[in-house]
């Protein structure tokens, strides 16, 4: 059995027939070739596969592609607009928030979700917001600094607007 789905990913609409058991992360990676979203565990615990699904950060390994039918999805590939980095991406670059880079796309999506909901987070709030994302390289400190940097940048941008 296959089911038809239609999803809008990074602004582009796709229609496919998929087996119901296909996980959203496999659909994004293997069908749409958006390989920036990674897979790091089998148990919904590492957050490497985090994407925005209708404005909510979700673990795309724990969503069936069929469940995403009709949804708007933003993956890491959709974060920079016209070559301009998202402030969170900038923060990760500026503050060395990544080493091997494998957890980074998921970290960036989770961090962006935080700043949407809480533009001025404390250190503890930042740590809580990325609790669902494992990083084995950085020890998280530079990631915290990256998010703080992004928060400042976004506030600055908001003030300028």
């Amino acid at each position: 059995m296959k089911v038809p789905i239609q999803v809008t990913v990074n602004g582009k609409t796709h229609a496919h027939e998929v087996e119901p058991r296909v996980l959203l992360v496999h659909y994004l990676r293997d069908v749409l070739n958006l390989t920036g979203t990674h897979i790091g565990c089998e148990t919904s615990l590492c957050g490497a596969c985090t994407v925005m699904l209708d404005g909510q950060a979700v673990k795309s390994c724990t969503v069936l592609a069929a469940q995403a039918n009709g949804a708007h999805i933003t993956t890491i590939e959709g974060f920079a607009v016209n070559g301009r980095l998202h402030p969170v991406q900038e923060g990760f670059w500026e503050r060395h928030g990544l080493q091997c880079g494998y957890c980074t796309p998921g970290m960036i999506v989770a961090s962006a979700q935080l700043l949407e909901r809480n533009p001025d987070p404390t250190e503890a709030e930042i740590r809580m917001a990325i609790e669902g994302n494992l990083c084995r390289c950085t020890g998280y400190q530079h990631i915290v600094e990256a998010v703080q940097y992004a928060a400042r940048r976004m506030k600055g941008a908001a003030a300028a607007d």
Partner: protein, 772 residues
């Protein structure tokens, strides 16, 4: 040399692609007609395989082939590069056929048109097992049957004694010999990207290409070529982005050879991406040493001798460096101290578990943990301040190079300097006062100290199984861009940036003009790889020396082109100058390639290659201090502060060094408090997923207050020492020491890791016998 880049916090050049999801890890590489492989792995720790029925799987949708142990006769065993006297050497075939010796031991490989169908078919394979008694405990394993490898009639893989000085005399002359059993528990490296291999064979060209998530592309090429019996120059290994390694990818695995072989059988690309469960079962583990420490002391705190009798758990087989890890432990048992007599007695044993091998630190964290615990045991015994015990036993700065009783020459160091800086940053005196107050109020607050030294820049070839040098080629292309080829293929360390910094400064060019290429054996000259905190000290030095050679040639050519005496030519800011005449290095490069006017005997082109062989290891050091509080009700630990002063020699990029130290400290936090690979008595792996194996999360980590001293290494012209493992090595004992100090008023002197809340609660509530 102008240092526009070196020593500065330069943002990484590899980041733009990674933060946009545009990098390519193995699974991101798509080749047409790729087939997918799924493995059937043993569900027993020890079992005879009495039958494998793949008939249903072979007929399943999408299945192209199924291979079992009887099909792969010509593939050589998984290689082990280290060899010790009288070492037992089991053959580790890429698929098990008669017996399965650990949970996760590969038994069959299914090849199908997609990964879903491969997994479905793998589940259809019926393996009949006859369970055999498993060997899971080191001490019991050493004592006798049952045996992991029947043919040896023993589980002892090897025994080894090392060290210098008369240890018996040292103990006799001591006022006291303190004894303690110490466990370095088994850990899983858990790189966030699991392993993965993509193999493609072109029958016409007879060329096999392997994309693999590895730390050692060239060594893997050599070993896989040997395993497959194919010419090494027909095998190409490409290492794309590597999502972390920590030693787990410093290896050659069964799957790497097997995937290559399957691709050769089928003439189609084949891919295998390790699942996290497979990663727990069949990627190397680390540590797993259980030992008895004896340390002789005088009343004033002077250490007279140290002996460590240790059981090292090899697992069922050797991977690349398995037997060598305890030898590194032996080398580092002097810590940062003058200890006149040291002896290590290793009993390496086989067990029905996955192999242990190099996990971040590889034998050195084990040693440092033992030594730094020992220092606290001495302090507790004598009622001394742990800092004073350490200070008392440091070698003085003028004693360097300092020779240890383990046979090493520490290159340079000023241990007091780092210690003093850390004490000052922590305000150690005030910490002590605060602790007193907290204790008076009934709180369990502890201060942990560790003053570590580590061995880096691995290393002189004589001391390594497979070459300890590193290679670099630098080129200036006709259009003036700079290409650096390094054999030290990174997996997150940022060599694309740090090596570009070196090249940028040396050539006076912008780092944007420099591209660092690595991880492709057909493009890059032979290299060793990134591990053992060696990339900058050995690989970076190779780059540096190659740059000097390139500049020498360019300088001669510039003199020729400008028509001046070569002796008058000076190089600065990217230009060769002699008197009023001046030429940019890019211009020189173009002329080198056009080759219309070259000095007599000069080859065209502008490139230089250098293979750097270090004469010694380097020995970074530092002091870590932390403050921990234990919840009296639950046994849960809170870290209040973490202060580190590390000396990794000269620093190329402080941003990257901080990142390495922070990541290392948090991995130590994992070992100290959370992580433990647990097998039950039947060899079942109980911590088989991240549901049960706890890695530190952002909410578990303290804010780390970092600082540095800079004592240049005399071993290489850059003066760098290495920093990849420092955090892990220095922090593990520091964290444990703090918690044990917190419980010291309850009479606790030692506890084994991980310091689980339940363990601490049992002590606090008097529910268990205290560890002496």
């Amino acid at each position: 040399m102008a240092t526009k880049y070196v020593g500065n916090r330069v943002k990484r050049t590899e980041d733009p692609r990674l933060i946009q999801g545009l990098g390519h890890y193995v699974d991101d590489i798509k080749l047409p007609d790729t087939l997918h492989v799924a493995f059937v792995r043993s569900i027993y720790g020890h079992a005879r395989i009495t039958g494998v029925d793949a008939s249903a799987a072979a007929k399943a949708p999408g299945v192209v082939a199924v291979y079992t142990g009887k099909d792969i006769g010509k593939i050589g065993g998984v290689p082990c590069a280290s060899d010790l006297p009288e070492m037992k050497k089991p053959e580790f075939l890429v698929l098990a056929s008669n017996k399965a010796l650990f949970v996760g031991h590969a038994i069959a490989a299914v090849v199908a048109t997609d990964r879903y169908l491969a997994k479905d078919a793998a589940d259809m394979i019926q393996v009949d097992y006859e369970e055999l008694p498993a060997v899971t405990e080191e001490v019991k394993a050493a004592a006798g049957a049952p045996y992991v490898h029947e043919q040896f009639g023993t589980n002892i893989a090897y025994k080894l004694t090392a060290g210098e000085g008369d240890i018996a005399a040292a103990f006799r002359s001591s006022d006291k010999v303190i004894k303690q059993r110490i466990l370095n528990q088994r850990l899983a490296p858990i790189a966030m990207e699991p392993r993965g291999v993509l193999a493609r064979y072109y029958p016409g060209e007879q060329e096999l290409t392997l994309w693999s998530s590895t730390q050692i592309p060239h060594l893997m090429r050599t070993q896989v070529a040997l395993m497959l019996g194919m010419p090494e120059n027909r095998l190409r290994v490409i290492t794309p982005e590597v999502g972390g390694g920590f030693g787990s990818k410093l290896n050659v695995y069964a799957e790497e050879a097997l995937l290559g072989w399957i691709s050769m059988q089928l003439g189609q690309p084949v891919k295998w991406i390790e699942s996290r469960r497979e990663n727990f079962q069949s990627t190397i583990h680390g540590r797993a040493q259980l030992g008895d420490l004896e340390i002789g002391i005088r009343k004033d705190g002077t250490v007279t001798g140290l002996r460590y009798n240790v059981f090292a758990d090899m697992g069922a087989y050797y991977q690349l460096l398995t037997p060598a890890i305890p030898t590194l432990t032996g080398l580092m048992l002097s810590g940062s101290y003058k200890i006149p007599a040291i002896q290590i007695n290793v009993t390496a044993v086989f067990t029905n578990k996955m192999s242990t091998d190099a996990y971040r630190g590889a034998g050195r964290p084990e040693a440092t943990y033992v030594v730094e615990r020992a220092m606290d045991l001495v302090a507790a015994e004598l009622g001394m301040d742990p800092v004073e015990v350490r200070r008392k036993n440091f070698p003085a700065p003028n004693e360097f190079p300092f020779k240890t009783a383990t046979g090493l020459f520490y290159d340079s160091g000023d241990y007091v300097l780092a210690l003093e800086k850390a004490l000052k940053n922590a305000d150690y005196k005030k910490l002590g006062e605060e602790q007193k107050k907290a204790r008076a109020a009934g709180r369990l607050v502890g201060i942990g100290v560790s003053t570590y030294v580590e061995i880096c820049a691995l290393g002189p070839s004589a001391a390594l199984p497979a070459g300890g040098w590193e290679s670099a080629t630098v080129r200036i292309e006709p259009t003036g861009t700079v290409t650096v080829l390094t054999g030290a293929s990174p997996h997150g360390q940022g060599q694309e940036t740090s090596f570009a910094q070196i090249a940028g400064d040396e050539l006076g060019v912008s780092i944007e003009a420099v591209t660092v290429i690595h991880g492709d054996t057909s493009i890059v000259q032979y290299g060793i790889g990134t591990f053992g905190s060696r990339a900058t000290a050995v690989g970076g030095t190779a780059v540096f020396v190659a740059l000097q050679r390139l500049k020498e040639k360019a300088s001669k050519l510039a003199a020729h082109l400008m028509g001046v005496d070569p002796a008058t030519v000076k190089f600065a800011d990217g230009r060769f100058t002699s008197g009023a005449k001046s030429m940019a290095i890019q211009e020189v490069a173009l002329h080198a390639h056009l080759a219309k006017s070259l000095p007599e005997g000069m080859e065209p082109g502008l490139s230089a290659t250098y293979f750097f062989e270090p004469k010694n290891f380097t020995f970074p050091f530092g002091t870590h201090i932390c403050i921990a509080e234990v919840d009296k009700d639950t046994g849960e630990i809170t870290l209040q502060r973490y202060i580190a002063v590390d000396d990794c020699g000269r620093v190329i990029n402080p941003l990257l060094v901080d990142g390495q130290v922070q990541g290392g400290i948090v991995q130590a936090l994992g070992q100290a408090f959370y992580e433990h690979v647990v097998y039950d008595e039947n060899g079942q792996l109980l911590t088989g997923t991240l549901m049960d194996y706890a890695l530190p999360r952002a909410t578990n980590c303290p804010w780390m207050e970092l600082d540095r001293t800079e004592t240049p290494s005399p071993v290489n012209p850059l003066g760098v020492k290495g920093v990849g493992e420092a955090g892990t090595i220095g922090a593990t004992p520091c964290l444990v020491n703090a918690v044990i100090d917190a419980l010291a008023p309850l009479g606790v002197r030692h506890l084994d890791m991980p310091l689980k809340p339940e363990t601490l609660w049992r002590i606090i509530s008097g529910n268990s016998a205290r560890s002496a």
